[in-house]
Subunit: 223 residues, 2 copies
């Protein structure tokens, strides 16, 4: 049985979980708080980051969310999420990198730092200026997803792909942390509403991170 | 003909160039300085980062170095650089991410900032403390590559893979910027010496970034 080392608000683990859900791969969750820098975890992943996947019976260890996603794309045929021509596939991977790097760096990383790490590790209050900047960046990012969805059915093209899973993973964590103002972003809101009703998304929406509560609309399907 | 938008010290562009060299794919260089945030370049890549590859005749645009490498892996059979079983391929991608994120973030990004951006953009002197910290981080990173090479012929396994190209790309930029002290890292030095004599590496070693000179040993094969 695969084990997934993660914590509820890790967006990279969420992307992997959405992929495993769509593909019907079973796994069990192992709670890991990377900021504790546990020795046994650093032995598995010297980068000290979640997600990590291990299958001890088969002596398999997978590190880095994109390497994990490519692995399951290659080994599980069902629901291909990096599909189409080589050019389509390049566009899907560009967008995954966009959400994992730019959306994460501009919005999710500062929100996690201000609202989670400061609370759990430093026992300090969030910096209001940092929160405002992350929320402002979120508006610009949603303009871009609106623009993509004006031209395509799904973010990466005509069908649902890993680009959508990566985006939903990052957006859902930002939404949990109160960083998303949905007003005026109808295209992205409509796409996300559809996403929220997928079976693969239900376990994520039901989970809570200790001491941090999401806004009322977070798990509501018809927000 | 493919065009590669890059500047001489962009490690991600170097990784792509090494792959194209090994595969025998022709391309022409287009000089791009991402810190200038040129409008036409932002239209091609909203992330504003090099490398970008374009083939105007075929109306193809590739963005993000890993998406670019996967594209040429999929379309050009010669010299497969993400090879082996799915587990091997996952290990190669983990290491590419390690060098592109951890090695870049700990060493190359601060060196580029202190020695290149400050000089070209801010006309300021580098901060000696930042340089010292990057060089200290380099020693720890070379301990890790030494450790990998004690257990494997190449960084990613038994044959040369994209993990080696990613590592050589980052290390060569760090070396150009005076960030690498080779003493005491015989395994990595031996591997890098072999790498420096490959035809794919020659154009990179011959190029210079204006106003910044590499140390004397930089382009010497038998350093
Ligand atoms: N490139 C990695 C990034 C993973 C990542 O940044 N994970 C965060 C949690 S959301 C982490 O573990 N941060 C702790 C650290 O970087 O020390 C991936 O895609 O798996
Ligand atoms: N994930 C990107 C990273 C590329 C990257 O960071 N490029 C640097 C130059 S070495 C850049 O363009 N930086 C400018 C910026 O981020 O604004 C890739 O692998 O292509």
């Amino acid at each position: 049985m695969w084990q997934l080392y993660q914590f509820p608000l890790c967006p990279f683990s969420r992307k992997v979980r959405l992929l495993l859900g769509e593909k019907g791969v079973g796994y069990e969750l192992v709670r890991e708080s990377p900021w504790q820098r546990r020795d046994e975890f650093l032995d598995m992943n010297p980068a000290g980051q979640t997600p990590v996947m291990a299958d001890p019976d088969k002596n398999l260890l997978l590190v880095d969310s994109m390497a994990i996603c490519e692995y399951f794309e290659e080994t599980v045929e069902k629901s291909s999420m990096i599909s189409g021509t080589a050019a389509n596939r390049a566009e899907i991977r560009r967008l995954v990198s966009w959400f994992d790097t730019q959306f994460y760096g501009d919005i999710v990383a500062p929100l996690l730092h201000e609202r989670m790490i400061k609370r759990l590790v430093h026992r300090a209050a969030p910096d209001a200026k940092m929160l405002r900047e992350a929320m402002k960046a979120a508006l610009q990012h949603l303009d871009y997803t609106d623009y993509l969805l004006d031209h395509r059915h799904w973010l990466g093209g005509a069908t649902m792909t890993l680009a959508d899973l990566a985006a939903a993973a990052q957006i859902s964590v930002a939404d949990y942390l109160g960083g998303i103002d949905w007003k005026g972003h109808e295209a992205t809101a409509g796409w996300y509403r559809g996403f929220k009703s997928r079976p693969s998304f239900q376990p994520l929406l039901a989970e809570r991170m200790e001491v941090i509560s999401p806004p009322a609309h977070y798990a509501v399907h018809d927000f």
